[in-house]
Structures are given as structure tokens and as C-alpha cells.
Symmetry: C2
Subunit: 617 residues, 2 copies
């Protein structure tokens, strides 16, 4: 217990639940680690998708198109922030405007996406470390899981680190990448190489059919779209900003988009200029940094900053996932325990669940970010599409100034995202996207089923008629039938028989006969002890204790039904330490479970009284 307290900290009081409001500078750092970190792998994914045949050709054009898409999405979210200043997450927007069906689809997609963000970011972060120190190559999974453990602990502590601390790695990364891009563009050393490479590439392109080129470009585009994951984080966190909240959020979103565009285009340009061919061992950004800075201090800084911001991105999901899960739990789509605040005012259940899922993904995919990427952007673009379609509906209902222009922008955004989504599904289906395509409807179905079950439960338990409390009458006049199962006569049995005889004059002790020698012994001591109630012996040819008892109980229930179901008074044995339960046969627990779950359907409640005998040793 002391160790747990040391690692996770002392419990916090509910009243401590207050939140720091963020300035734009700090908010940018907090919210953008997810999206900005993706420049660490997006260019590389484009290059890998283009393959050896096309090498770097078209990579700049593809990056350009993605930046165009970024502008459309940012414009759409600009409007969402204004319309939903409390929480503009895709689940809320889609559910409110398009109904439960699309809301749950968006919710499922987002949950999957948060999980993948953790796995992809940790794997890519491990890659950044391995690129700098190739001797670590075998330890990708180890690095991922160690960082994951730290992230989980800090989140279970309810990490309320000052935003300032968290800003450092983000600005460090932004600064270094901008420096690298600047130095790279103005250095002339590699210019000669570019022309060489261009010639080679053009030669290469002419050899393959234009259809194949088209397919490869589409794939590269689909891979590159992973850079857009995380654009929506600001929209769902507007309340964290200082006043005027939504205006500050919009401006931060704009700055984030500009930074992303510069960094993504810059890195893609440099990869083109230096004809970078990423390998299994070294990432594209590591190769670029080597070319620009040489393998010196600045190079290691870039790798370190890249790893840091990627790990920070994983950390971001650990606030997003539990928050979304708590919203779903409050609306009863997932077990309500996900809405429960833990000792440290964090949604512990969501954090632990996310950690388990991410660990599973990292182990299954062996910490390889390249095989996780095909699963990645699909969920994001599903939620983008639905969120913007929801906004279209929102404008149609609310109207207001310029509503047609606003709706048109969201229609355009929604259609762009839908087309991107289709391209991603089409070009990544067999590489893993099918997993997400299968998973979203399954989650949807589970959420619905859970929700219906909660509703039915409430309906059944509800007390409609008022002043019902007056109906509670003591039932002392009745003589309920009381059954006490005994296994042998000891102090615990005595306490149970005592309580049973205080309930009613109709008490029966029941013993199940498994070993005939024991029966004789019990009969003798029963008589010797002069108990006032009869001892019923049940035969059990199949050596089950539970079945003969249940049969006997059902029999008793049917006798004088107006006196209600037989009450069971069970002596149960509680050893001094929990592990000692292994030594005892748990007949009481087994019997109780059988009584609860094997009951014949009946409206009446069976009362089960447990008289625990607490061992002192």
C-alpha cells in the first residue's frame, strides 16, 4: 500500500477538481503535440508508399494537396469552435445533429483512433531513438512499453503538471525543425545531387505504367494523411482556454495549422532535395538532420526532440480517451465505471483500459509504426466527415448570419474528408485498414446493446407510485421458512442457527450426504448437542453439494407458497488472510452464486443471510 501511495500519490479531494486556464502560447504547446509530432513520420510514409519505383517524385505535390486538405479542415473546425464552445468533439457534434447512429460511429472511430495514436506515437518515438542509436534496434518494444508505463503512471497520478513544463518539448521540437528546414533550404551543398536524382527518377517513372503511378500516388496520399490526425483536439478542448475562449481557440488553431504546413512542406522538400530513402533502421527525419547538421550535437538534439514530442503525443491521448469514455459512460453507452473519478481525480478506468489496448497493439505489431499507420487515419477521417456533416445540419437548423456560406464550407469539408476516407479505405484495406472497418460496427453494436440494457434495467427497477414507503410493514407475524445448510457443527454453524431461530420457528438444518461415514458422525453430535430444529439429510449420488440443496429449496418454496420463498441462512467461513480461501472449499460462495444465477424465473426475491465466522488467526 505504501508503495502504491508513493507511485500514485495520496488520494485527492473532489473539491480540488479545478482546472488551469491556458494562454494561447501554452495551449498551442498542449494541444499541438499530437498533430505536430506527426510530421516526424508523415513524409516518410509518403516516401515508403511511393516505393523505389517512384522514389521521391510527386512527394511535394502530394504534400501540397494534403496542406490544401488541411486548410479546408481547419476552416471547418474554425466554425465548429464558434458553434460548440463547450465541447466540439466529433461524438457530440455528430450525435446532436445526426442522431445516435452517426454519433456512435464517430465515437467508435475516435476511441480506436486514440488507441492507435498511443501505439503509433510510441513506436515512432522509439524509431527516433533507434535511428540515433542503431544498437537499440532490438529494443523497440521495450522502449515503447517503458515510456507507456511512465505515461500511465503520470496520468493515474492525475498529472496536473504546469502547462509550462509540457510546452518545453513542443517548442524545442518546433524550433529545431524550423532551424533544420532553414539551414537545409539555404545550404547549396546538395544541389548537384538533386538534378542527378531527378534524372534517375524520371527514367524510373517512364518504365512503369501510368495506372500504377496513379495507384502509388493515391497510396502515398493516403499514407500522408496521417499528418492530419489531431486537428480536432483543439475543438474538443475549448473550455481550457482563457477568455475570450472560442476566439483564442480559433487563433491557436490557425497558428497550429500554419506551423504544421511549414514543417510538413519543409521536411518533404528537404527529403526531395536530398533524395532521402528511409530504411528500416533510420527514419527520413533522421537522414535529413544528418545531411543538414552532420552527425553532431544538433543532430542528436533533433532526434531527442522528435522522440519527446512523439511521447508527448501519446500522453495527449491519455487525456482524450478517458474524457471521451467518461462522456460515453455518462450517456450509458459503456459501463458506468468509466465515468468514475479515481483517487487522484483522473478517470483511472479509462486510462488503464487504454494502456492495456495500446500494449496489445504494440506487442501484436511488434512496435513497428509502419504497419500501424494503415490502420491509423481511417478513424480520424471518419470522425472528421461525420463532425462536418453534423455541422451542415447544425447550420440548416440554426440558420443565423451567413448560414448558407457556412454550411457550404462544411459541405465542402465533409465531402473532401469523405473522398479522402474512401481513398484511405481503398488503398490501405488489405494492409490493415480492414481491422478498423470491422471494428467500428462491432463497437457501435456493443455500445447500443449496453445502452439498451441500461435503459431496460432502469425501467424494470423503477418505482412509479409515490408514498410507497408507507407500505413497508414489518413481517414479524409471518413465520418464514428458514433453511440452514450445515457442513459440520462448529462455532460458525451455531451463530447461523441462532440467527435463523430468531427469524422464525420453522428452521431446518440441512446436510448433504456425500461421505456416509461423515453422516454418522454428524447425526451423533447433532443428537448430543440437543438442537431444537430438525436435521434434514439429503442424499447426493453424484457428490454435488449444490444440486440437492437447490432441489430441496425449490421444494420448500412450493410448500405453503403464501409464506414466501424459503430464506437461506448460510454460515460462512472467513479466514484471517485472504489467500487462505484456497484452503477451503467455498461451498457457501458456490451455493450463493447458484442461488442467484440458477433461480427459476420468479418475481419473488430470495433472502440470503450470510453469517460470516471470522477467524482470529
Amino acid at each position: 500500500m505504501n508503495l502504491i501511495r508513493f507511485v500514485f500519490g495520496n488520494p485527492l479531494k473532489t473539491e480540488n477538481l479545478a482546472s488551469e486556464k491556458l494562454t494561447k502560447i501554452r495551449a498551442l504547446a498542449i494541444f499541438s503535440s499530437d498533430i505536430l509530432s506527426s510530421v516526424a513520420y508523415a513524409t516518410e510514409e509518403i516516401l515508403l508508399a511511393l516505393g523505389a519505383a517512384l522514389a521521391g517524385t510527386f512527394s511535394l505535390q502530394i504534400a501540397g494537396i494534403i496542406v490544401g486538405l488541411l486548410i479546408v479542415i481547419v476552416a471547418s473546425y474554425w466554425q465548429t469552435i464558434e458553434a460548440y464552445p463547450n465541447s466540439g468533439g466529433a461524438f457530440v457534434v455528430a450525435k446532436e445533429n445526426l442522431g445516435e447512429f452517426f454519433g456512435l460511429i464517430a465515437g467508435s472511430a475516435l476511441l480506436i483512433d486514440y488507441t492507435l495514436t498511443v501505439a503509433v506515437s510510441l513506436s515512432a518515438g522509439a524509431n527516433a531513438i533507434i535511428s540515433a542509436f542503431p544498437s537499440m534496434a532490438d529494443h523497440a518494444v521495450g522502449i515503447c512499453l517503458s515510456v507507456l508505463l511512465l505515461v500511465v503512471i503520470s496520468n493515474l497520478r492525475g498529472a496536473r503538471e504546469s502547462a509550462t513544463v509540457l510546452s518545453i518539448p513542443t517548442y524545442f521540437f518546433i524550433g529545431l525543425v524550423l532551424l533544420m528546414i532553414g539551414c537545409g533550404i539555404f545550404s547549396s551543398s546538395a544541389l548537384a545531387k538533386v538534378s542527378d536524382q531527378a534524372v534517375v527518377v524520371v527514367g524510373g517513372v517512364s518504365k512503369i505504367s501510368s495506372w500504377l503511378v496513379f495507384i502509388l500516388v493515391l497510396r502515398a496520399f493516403a499514407s500522408g494523411c496521417s499528418v492530419l490526425t489531431g486537428v480536432d483536439t483543439i475543438a474538443s478542448g475549448v473550455t481550457a482556454f482563457k477568455n475570450p475562449q472560442y476566439r483564442n481557440a480559433q487563433i491557436t488553431l490557425l497558428f497550429m495549422a500554419i506551423l504544421l504546413a511549414i514543417m510538413f512542406l519543409g521536411i518533404t522538400f528537404l527529403s526531395h532535395k536530398y533524395a532521402i530513402v528511409p530504411t528500416k533502421e533510420t527514419t527520413a527525419i533522421s537522414l535529413i538532420a544528418q545531411r543538414v547538421f552532420g552527425k553532431g550535437f544538433l543532430y542528436y538534439c533533433v532526434q531527442f526532440a522528435t522522440a519527446c514530442i512523439l511521447f508527448l503525443a501519446a500522453n495527449t491521448s491519455f487525456s482524450g480517451f478517458p474524457r471521451l469514455a467518461s462522456i460515453l459512460a455518462k450517456e450509458r453507452y459503456i459501463p458506468t465505471r468509466f465515468a468514475k473519478l479515481g483517487d487522484r481525480l483522473a478517470f483511472s478506468n479509462g486510462i488503464v483500459f487504454l494502456a492495456v489496448m495500446a500494449t496489445f497493439l504494440i506487442l501484436v505489431f511488434n512496435g513497428d509504426s509502419h504497419s500501424l499507420i494503415p490502420l491509423y487515419s481511417l478513424g480520424v477521417f471518419t470522425s472528421f466527415t461525420l463532425s462536418q456533416a453534423g455541422m451542415v445540419k447544425h447550420w440548416i437548423r440554426k440558420r443565423g448570419a451567413n448560414w448558407i456560406a457556412k454550411a457550404a464550407l462544411n459541405v465542402f469539408g465533409s465531402i473532401s474528408c469523405l473522398i479522402t476516407l474512401l481513398i484511405i479505405v481503398d488503398s490501405k484495406f488489405l494492409q490493415g485498414a480492414w481491422i478498423v472497418v470491422v471494428l467500428i460496427p462491432i463497437l457501435f453494436h456493443v455500445f447500443r446493446k449496453i445502452n439498451r440494457r441500461y435503459l431496460e434495467t432502469n425501467t424494470e427497477l423503477d418505482l412509479r407510485n409515490g408514498r410507497i414507503g408507507a407500505l413497508i410493514l414489518p413481517m414479524r407475524e409471518a413465520q418464514p421458512k428458514v433453511i440452514v445448510p450445515v457442513s459440520r457443527i462448529h462455532k460458525g454453524t451455531l451463530a447461523a442457527l441462532r440467527f435463523a431461530s430468531s427469524l422464525s420457528d420453522d428452521v431446518k438444518a440441512v446436510f448433504v450426504n456425500i461421505d456416509s461415514r461423515e453422516v454418522e458422525r454428524l447425526k451423533l453430535s447433532w443428537r448430543a448437542m440437543n438442537f431444537p430444529m430438525p436435521l434434514v439429510l439429503l442424499s447426493s449420488p453424484y457428490r454435488s453439494v449444490v444440486n440437492p440443496l437447490l432441489d430441496f429449496l425449490y421444494d420448500q418454496d412450493e410448500r405453503d407458497p403464501e409464506r414466501g420463498k424459503a430464506i437461506v441462512v448460510m454460515p460462512s467461513f472467513v479466514p484471517g488472510q485472504f489467500w487462505q480461501n484456497v484452503l477451503h472449499n467455498q461451498t457457501a460462495a458456490i451455493l450463493k452464486t447458484a442461488l442467484l444465477y440458477r433461480q427459476k424465473s420468479s418475481e419473488q426475491t430470495r433472502i440470503i443471510v450470510e453469517i460470516p465466522y471470522q477467524m482470529k488467526i
Copy 2:
């Protein structure tokens, strides 16, 4: 449930527990599969231990010494069978004569040994199959676990196959091996080779120091002793024989020893004659069969028979281990559930436990019998040594005709086994024997601790004074304090409040305040429903439901202590299907566990009444 019934069969009545008495011919087959199957790997282990340096030299001499040891052990067990016609297992003999300490050491060693027999026999059986079909080489673990599954199912069915069926593979194996030895000895084809080999070997030996030769020979001897595992099976199963039981058992033991000696010496001789060098892919017996029969029908028969008898040996452990476990459980050294007969009159718990342990061993050692062998013989020779030392004590106490001669024989046997044991520990320690050396004292300690705990429990629970039953007085006059924890007001709460008010006039409903909005709602409906008992609100700054309730209860206990501990009446919620428990927060179950295990030490019993509300949907 139907599938389970189909696989394991319908439950059997206790009265069906009868056993077939075995003739000598059948008993030989039943009891000897364990020991005879070990000729399939013992010679090979000797050759591997001798290594390339010594090749086959000394293997015949080593086999000769082991056969000498066999004669001593058989002579000792001959006496044990006569002295302990009911059960001459090492645990019983050692415990009865040498006391609990040595008895438990022998018991631990035997349990370990049964487990290893399963793992070693299955792995060696898989080797026999792989030798014949090298393409299966990657599936050793798969073969082991599949056969294990079959063995477990047949044992859980309470396999009462006729002994005739089980005799077939044993006699098939014996016949084929004797045929192979006969053909091998009288075929002259390979004679020329032997002399070649001998020259090479002598050349090899001269190059290494005589000290190293001594070490290698000791190791080879230690490995070869694995052939003796299983000599004791007849001694612990004398009651299975036809009358005159002990005489028949003795004669069967003698035949078994003669067969073992012939087969072991024959195979070792042939391995020497053909200069067999077993490899990772092919066992020694497979190489010999190839040389003798060619790779034809008879060769495949030998491999098939070898695999069969090895699998049968694994099966034998599945009757030995659960039987020994049930003896230990009846004497309360392990949890008593191991003495419980299952639906099919088999000791199901012991069978399942053994299967889990064997699976663990097979997975950890990757189905490789060579790495399991060093762990193997240690337990066997521990139990041989203790059993014979026990016999010495037995003769000293009982005396009788020729007791000095008999005791002398057992002294000699015991000392021989002890020396062998020391050789095994010394030469195999680092290769794995240390695991067993560590495990035996741990098991010993656990057994003792469990036994002491059972004894203490009995002492505490015992009712010494007779006619105590008359003391059971109804406690209707008292007004116990009754506490009903409520989470919200529904039909389940109503039933609980109703029962509570039938117990006493002093009922308090208690609600833990975690969410202040819910408190207001509850207060309103409480007043509206006009309940007669007060509603107590407990504040919970740390959001725990259990802690404030426990504090309140302890408070109540101290108020008017003469009225006893407060009774807890808990409404609990039972969903229609078990999985739906995931949807509910299990507060009742958590509270109950806390009540039972976090109680302040006190002599009094706290009564816990559960009023389950059974969902109909």
C-alpha cells in the same frame, strides 16, 4: 453444457466406484509403461552425456552398473510390497517410519517427479514421431500439447478402459524391441564397422585427461539412471492385483525388472555395435531401428510403438499424481479439494493441476526432452532413498523372521540410492537439477504451513461442550441495529428496507454522497415516498463508497455495545445474465468483501443479509 457432457460423459454415481482386479499379465502392461518406456531415451542420454570425446565407450559398462542398481532397488521393493500390501508408496512408507519431515520430502519429490514424467514422456514421444517424420520437427510442442489434451480428457472421463486395451501398446513395444535386439545381435553386417569405430574411439580417449573421463562417465551414469524412474509404481498399486495380491505383485515386479534389463542392455549394446551418434533430429532408438530393419515397415512400427508407450507413460502419471494428491489432501497437507471425486469419479482437481503444470514445463522447455532429463531422476532417487530408509526403520521396529537380513538389504539399497542421488545432484546441478533442489524444500514448507493452518482452524472452530444446542435462544426481544446502504430508490431497495424493518425497529438507511446533485434527488424522493426510517447521508470527500460506510458501521457498533454489532442488509442487484455484471458497479460485492476482510479483530460475528433483486430481462 451439452458439449461438456459429450466430451466428458455423464456424471457417475458414487456407488459405481469399484475397481477391476488385474491378472499378472495385464498388471505388467499397466504398471510397466512408465519404466519400460524409459529405455526409449535412457541409452541416448548416456551417449549424449559421454559426448563426442568418448563416443560410445563405457556405455555398456555404465548400463551394466545401472542394471546392478536396478537389482538392488527391485530387491528392496520386493520387501516393501510384502510389508505394505495396501500402499507402499514412498510418502506412506517414509511418513510412517521416518516421520512427517521425511514423508513430506518424499511426497514433494514424488509430485515433482510425476509432473516431470508427463513432460519428459510426451517430449520423448514427440521425438519418436519427429525422428520418423522429420518434417514435423517444428511441431514438437504442438504434438506434446495435443496428446496431453487427449490424455487429460480421457482421465477426466474417469477412464476405466479395460486393462486389455491398455496392454496392447505395451506388449507391442516389448515385442518389437526384443525383435530388434535379436535381429541386431545376430546380424553380422555391421561387425566390420564396430572395429573401425573402436579404433577411432580409443584414439579419442587417449587425448583427454582421465579426470575428465571420470566426470563424463559420472554424468552419463546420472543421465542413464533416468531408466529407473517408475520402478516404484507397482509398490503403490498392490491393491489392484488379484489374490494373492502381494505375491502376484512381487512376481510382476520381477518380470518387469528382467524385461527392463534385457531391453536396456540390448539397446545399449546395439548402439555400441552400430556406433550410433544420436542427433537433435533423430533419436538413438530410431537410428538403431533403421540399421536393423532398414527404413521400412518394421522401422515405422518401432517408432509408432515407442511413441505409444511413451504417451501411455504420461497417462500413468495422471493416475499416480491425483492419487498421491488425494492422500496428501486427506491428511490436510494440500487444499482438501484435491481429495474430492469429480463427476466421473476421478480426482478432477489433481488431473487439471497436473495438466497445467505439465503444459507449463513443456512450454518453458520447448518440448525438448534433453533439457528436462537433468531435472528428472533427482526426485525419483530422493523418494527411493527415503522409502528404503523407512523400510530399515520398519524392520528395526517390527523385527520378525530374518529381519536383520532384510534390514541389511534395505540399508544397502538406501545407501546405493543415496550415492546415486548425490552423483545426480553433483553432475546435473547447473543443467537444471537445482530447480528441483530448490523446489522440494519450498513444497515441503508449503505443505507444512497448510497443515498447521488446517489444524489451527479446526481448533478454533471446535465446540467442546456438549448439549450446546439448547443455548440457541431466539433473539426476538433484542432490537438489533440494522443498517441498509442505499444507492438509489428502486424495487431492490424496497425489498431490503422491508426485511430490515422486520428485523428491528432501529433501521437506518445510509447513502454515501459522491455527487451532490444525486443527493438532492434522493432526499426529495425519500421524503416523497414517506419511508418510516431515517436516511443518513455520509460525506465522502475522496469519492470512496466503502470507507465512509465502514466508518459509520464501526461507529454504530460502539453505540450500545450490548445490542451487538450492527446488522447490514444489502440490496444487491442480480442481472439476468452473468456477463451483465460488467455493467454494474458491484458496490454490494465490494462492500461485502471489505466487511469480511477489513474487520477490526473482534470475537463477534457481523450478520450480513443480502436481498438479491433478480432481473427478469
